[in-house]
Every structure is written in structure tokens, then in C-alpha cells.
């Protein structure tokens, strides 16, 4: 598979085993998301929920949406979007943390 990483027009077939593993990973993270709501983390509650959601989003993008097989430029774009999202959240919490 690695040989085809830089050939975006190739068809990539991900095995059922890999897809099943990704699905189990996503379900496990969903379970974690629900479980942490029972733990009192104070202001970190939102941060933990968002980090788990970002990891899940990353997994979906990487395997289900085939980002793994795309040109590096697309990965940089997605990385940039995640970075922007993180910065917007951090800047918003500049208000809440110091109010």
C-alpha cells in the first residue's frame, strides 16, 4: 500500500479487518466520551471532550475518507484546519478562563 501513497488517482481498497478495527476504535472513543462526563474535571471537561472528538475526526479522515492515501498537501490543509479550530477554542477560553 505504501507504494501508492503518492498516487492519489489510484483506487485504494482498505481491508475489512482495518475498517473493523477503526470502527471498534471509534466506538471505544464514544464510550470514553460518555464515561468522562461522569468525572468532575471542571474547566477541562470541554477540552477533554473536544480532544476526543478531534481524535475521532482524525481517524475518520485518515481511514474512512482516505486521507492516508492522498498527497501531503491535503494532509497539511486538514492539519491547518484542526490547528485553526484549536486556536479559536483557546482564544475563546481566554475570555472564560480570566472572567
Amino acid at each position: 500500500m505504501e507504494n501508492h501513497e503518492h498516487e492519489p488517482h489510484e483506487n485504494h481498497i482498505t481491508s475489512y479487518t482495518t475498517l473493523a478495527k477503526v470502527l471498534i476504535g471509534l466506538l471505544f472513543l464514544t464510550f470514553i466520551t460518555v464515561a468522562v462526563t461522569g468525572i468532575h474535571l471542571g474547566p477541562l471537561t470541554v477540552a477533554v471532550a473536544l480532544i476526543i472528538a478531534c481524535v475521532k475526526g482524525g481517524i475518520v479522515l485518515t481511514w474512512f475518507m482516505h486521507l492516508k492515501f492522498e498527497l501531503p498537501v491535503f494532509r497539511y490543509m486538514v492539519l491547518g484546519v484542526f490547528l485553526l479550530f484549536a486556536l479559536i477554542i483557546i482564544v475563546t477560553f481566554f475570555d472564560y478562563a480570566f472572567r
Partner: protein
């Protein structure tokens, strides 16, 4: 680089469709650009007339032609139409659609059907926006900002209005996506990033804001609807919500949206100045990268709309600091435009007059923006007519005059006909004078304490309001003269020729009007886009 073309032009080539269907079902980027031009101009005139009515109400203290509730509805409707239907799509949807593919040497955008779909979504949103003004429980009275908790309680037609803005957001996202892919994938052979003209550069920076910021306001507006229907408690303090959270979420989109409006305007000015100074643009890379810098830093300055909201002091100085930072790339552009004109062979034709006016008005808007970006002075002028004046100098003086510059610059290319330049120059003068007479007094009475969004005022503000109303009608007459002159040009038969201004970018190398597929053969680019050497 000269291209000869034997195809039908895009106006003659109806592709077998009849009448209006040849337009509303066409996937040709040029026809879609014209669809947007007609739609946006119509909504602009409607909202400008509303502005005229508001100014008439303010001609004297007390109730003159309407009551307070009607005035509240009118400034909300004026704002919604101008922001969501005119200035946000504005230059990108009209001139971006028409000229982006031609300027980068492509035959169309990457996704032509999606492009047409974007216009249909725009029209659906527009119909919904207009519906929200006349149906249900009366026009929304929240202002275009839909601030919570009032927007969650107002008995007026808020749900339809915010849903219209939500739908219009999809059109914006899809257009942005189309432009990003087009610029990445469809540039002509040899057109490297730094050989691309600067209008496409500005559209590229804008497109990223459209794609990344618009979903935030979409969700925020849906949260308003959810709050109204299900009393969830996102924003209403009575339900445990936080109204400042609404302001954060709204301005996370709506401040970058100001750059959606102004970046393409800067791109237009960057095209016009070298053409009429007959000189290569000064500081090409600085202008290109400053567009990207404005788009990037512009994401993090939204809090300067909220200094008096009760936000934390730490967040306030942080946002103030970044606001001053974002002034730097804007100033780089102004410096480069002026440096381009320096020792140029300036030909002060109509598009140049509008472009120079843009710089003048944008400078006034920008410098008064620093007054609003400073924590201490902002507290004094917050929610006064000073803000109204600043905003209109940036958006109308900036984006509006850039739109007028663009229409006068590219009209001969779009239709192959030249307008009457003498009348166009008279219209420019009336518009310029009217604009300043309308908005400058608002700075003065704003500093004196005149609140914005009030239908009545104390007698000491009468002189300022009277002058401003006179200015509004001077401006409206200038606008009507301009539109009539341009419309007559389409009817008359003064051929413009392929390159009436002596421009050097690719759109001036194709016939006027351009053929359906733009080029017989896709050109190979070897020179910089602003190379005036023979």
C-alpha cells in the same frame, strides 16, 4: 500570449436553450457571474432605498415618516440584505466567477454544476430572506447581528431570517470550495503561484475564510432557532445560558466575514492600479502574502466587537493587540498601491478614479477602525453612529467602491461595449461627494454621543443628521446615474475593443465578450502577470 478565437461568444452561445433558461440553467462561469450581477444589483438597490428611507426618518427629531418599530425592522432588513445578499457574495460571486477562470487560463471553474447550484441556493436564501420581512409576525427587529437573548425572545419573524442566512451560507461555502479547487488544479501551464494575478490570490485567501468560518455562523444561527423553539439554555441567562457565548460564536464568523467582503475588493484595486499607471505592481509577493496574512490574523480579532460586553479584561487586551497587528498587512497593500502609482504614467480613466477613491475612503475607514480597536476609545464610541460611519467607510467606501471600480473596469470585457466615460466620471463625482456628505457627519455626532439604531435623537444632533440625509440623496442620485449609464452602454453600440485599457493580464488577451470556452488553446505562461515591457 495573444490568443485568437473563432468560437461564439458566451452571450451568443445559448447552448440550445431558450430565453431565460439559457441563463438560469447555464453552467458557464461567465453566465453565472452575470446571474449574480443582476441578483446582487437588484438587492443592493432595494436595500439602498431602505437606507434612504431611514435617512429620511432621521432628517428631523421626532417621528417623521415612520414609527420606532418600523425603523427597527427597516435597519434590520437593510443590514440582512446588504450583508448576506450583497457584500458577502459581491465581488467574488460576480467578478470572481466571471474572471477567475480566464485570469488563470482555465476554461471554467473546477465544478461548473456546483457553481450553478450555488446560485440557486443563493436565490433560495434570498427568497427566504425577503419572505422573512413580509410574512409572519413582521420583519425581524434584532439588527443583522441577531444578538441573543433578544433574538431568542423577539416576537418578530426571526426564525425565517436566520434560516435565510443559514441557507445563504451554503452558497458561500460551495463557491469558496469551487474557487480553492479551481486555483489549485486548473492554472495554465507555467502559471506558478507567484505568476498568478493578484485578484485570484485575493479570491483564494477569501475562499478559505468562506469554507472554514461560514459553518460556525450556520451552527450558531441554528442554536438561536433551537433556543427559541425548545428553550435549551445556550444563550439566555434566565435558562442558565451565556449571551456572551453568542457574541463569540457570531463574531468568530462575522469578523472574518468582513475580510470576505474586503479582500476581493483589494484584489480588484490591485488589478486596476497597474493597468492605469502602466507599471508593474510594486511588491507583488508582499501583496499576495498580505492577503493570506489578513485572512489568517483576521480569524483572531473578533473580540474587538465585544469590548463592552462584559468579556474578561485579559481577552480584551489580547483582541486589541491582534487588531492592531491586522492593520499591518492592510497598510502594506496601501503602501504598495501608492508605490505602484509613483512615477507611473497615470491615465485617470473612470475605473482608476473609483480605485483611487477606494484607497482614500478605505484609509479613513481603516484609521477610524484603530479608534475602535483601542480599548479606551472604543468604550466612548461603542454603539454610536461613529461605528456606523466607520463600518460604511470600510464596507461601502471599500467593497462598494471597489465593486463600482470593477464594473467600470471589466464591463467592456464582459459585454464588448463601452459606456459613456464623461457621464461615468460625473456619476463618480456625485457618488464620491454624496458618500462623504452622508457618512462623515456620523463620525462627528457619534463622538458627541449619538447612539446608533435610534429612530429619534436630541436636538443637538439635528444639524449632523440633516447634512447626512442630504448626502444620502446626493449619493442615491449618483448611483442611479451610474447604473443608467452602464445599462445604456449595453444597449448602445460603441464597441469597446478587446483591450480598451491596455491591460496585460490574461482576460485582456481574449476577445470581448469572451468566447464560451475562453481560449482556443490554453496559453502557456512565461512572464509575471504585470509585465508591461513589450
Amino acid at each position: 500570449m495573444e490568443t485568437q478565437n473563432n468560437q461564439l461568444n458566451y452571450i451568443e452561445d445559448t447552448q440550445g436553450r431558450w430565453g431565460i433558461f439559457a441563463w438560469i440553467f447555464s453552467t458557464d462561469h461567465k453566465r453565472i457571474g452575470i446571474l449574480y450581477l443582476i441578483s446582487i444589483t437588484t438587492f443592493f438597490l432595494l436595500a439602498a432605498l431602505m437606507g434612504g428611507l431611514m435617512r429620511l426618518e432621521l432628517i428631523a427629531p421626532g417621528e417623521t415618516i415612520m414609527d420606532a418599530q418600523t425603523y427597527n425592522g427597516l435597519f434590520t432588513v437593510h443590514g440582512i440584505i446588504m450583508i448576506f445578499l450583497v457584500v458577502i457574495p459581491g465581488l467574488g460571486a460576480v467578478f470572481g466567477n466571471f474572471f477567475l477562470p480566464i485570469m488563470i487560463g482555465a476554461r471554467d471553474v473546477a465544478f461548473p454544476r456546483l457553481n450553478l447550484f450555488s446560485w440557486w441556493i443563493y436565490m433560495a436564501g434570498a427568497i427566504l430572506a425577503v419572505y422573512s420581512q413580509f410574512a409572519g409576525d413582521g420583519p425581524p427587529d434584532t439588527g443583522w447581528t441577531f444578538y441573543a437573548p433578544y433574538s431568542t425572545e423577539s416576537g418578530t419573524n426571526v426564525v425565517a431570517a436566520v434560516f435565510a442566512a443559514f441557507v445563504l451560507g451554503f452558497s458561500s461555502i460551495l463557491t469558496g470550495l469551487n474557487f480553492i479547487v479551481t486555483i489549485h488544479r486548473m492554472r495554465a501551464p507555467g502559471m506558478t503561484w507567484f505568476k498568478m494575478p493578484l485578484f485570484p490570490w485575493s479570491l483564494y485567501a477569501t475562499a478559505w475564510i468562506q469554507v472554514l468560518a461560514t459553518p460556525i455562523v450556520g451552527i450558531t444561527l441554528m442554536m438561536i432557532v433551537a433556543e427559541r423553539l425548545f428553550q435549551i439554555g445556550f444563550f439566555d441567562p434566565a435558562l442558565g445560558g451565556d449571551p456572551i457565548l453568542y457574541q463569540h460564536l457570531f463574531w468568530i464568523y462575522s469578523h472574518p466575514a468582513v475580510y470576505i467582503m474586503i479582500l476581493p475588493a483589494m484584489g480588484v484595486i490591485t488589478e486596476i492600479i497597474p493597468t492605469f499607471a502602466k507599471k508593474s505592481i510594486f511588491g507583488y509577493k508582499a501583496i499576495a502574502l498580505s492577503s493570506v496574512a489578513i485572512a489568517a490574523v483576521g480569524y483572531f480579532v473578533w473580540g474587538h466587537h465585544m469590548y463592552t460586553s462584559g468579556m474578561s479584561g485579559t481577552a480584551r487586551w489580547f483582541f486589541s493587540f491582534l487588531t492592531f497587528i491586522v492593520a499591518i498587512p492592510s497598510a502594506i497593500k496601501v503602501f504598495n498601491w501608492v508605490a505602484t502609482m509613483y512615477k507611473g504614467s497615470i491615465d485617470a480613466r473612470t475605473p482608476f478614479l473609483y480605485a483611487a477613491t477606494f484607497i482614500f475612503l478605505f484609509m479613513i475607514g481603516g484609521l477610524t477602525g484603530l479608534v475602535l480597536g483601542s480599548l479606551a476609545t472604543d468604550v466612548h464610541v461603542h454603539d454610536t453612529s461613529f461605528v456606523v460611519a466607520h463600518f460604511h467607510y470600510i464596507i461601502f467606501g471599500g467593497m462598494g467602491f471597489a465593486f463600482f471600480a470593477a464594473i467600470h473596469y471589466w464591463w467592456p470585457k464582459m459585454f464588448g461595449k463601452m459606456y459613456n466615460e464623461r457621464v461615468a466620471n460625473i456619476a463618480w463625482l456625485i457618488t464620491f461627494v454624496g458618500f462623504n456628505v452622508l457618512y462623515f457627519p456620523l463620525f462627528v455626532i457619534g463622538i458627541q454621543g449619538m447612539p446608533r439604531r435610534y429612530f429619534d435623537y436630541l436636538p443637538e444632533f439635528h444639524a449632523g443628521h440633516l447634512i447626512s440625509t442630504i448626502g444620502a440623496f446626493i449619493l442615491l442620485s449618483g448611483l442611479f446615474l451610474m447604473i443608467i449609464n452602464i445599462y445604456r452602454a449595453k444597449k448602445h453600440v460603441t464597441p469597446a475593443g478587446d483591450n480598451p485599457w491596455g491591460g496585460v493580464t490574461l482576460e485582456w488577451q481574449v476577445p470581448s465578450p469572451p468566447p464560451t470556452l475562453n481560449f482556443d488553446e490554453i496559453p502557456t505562461i512565461t512572464k509575471s502577470p504585470y509585465s508591461f515591457e513589450k
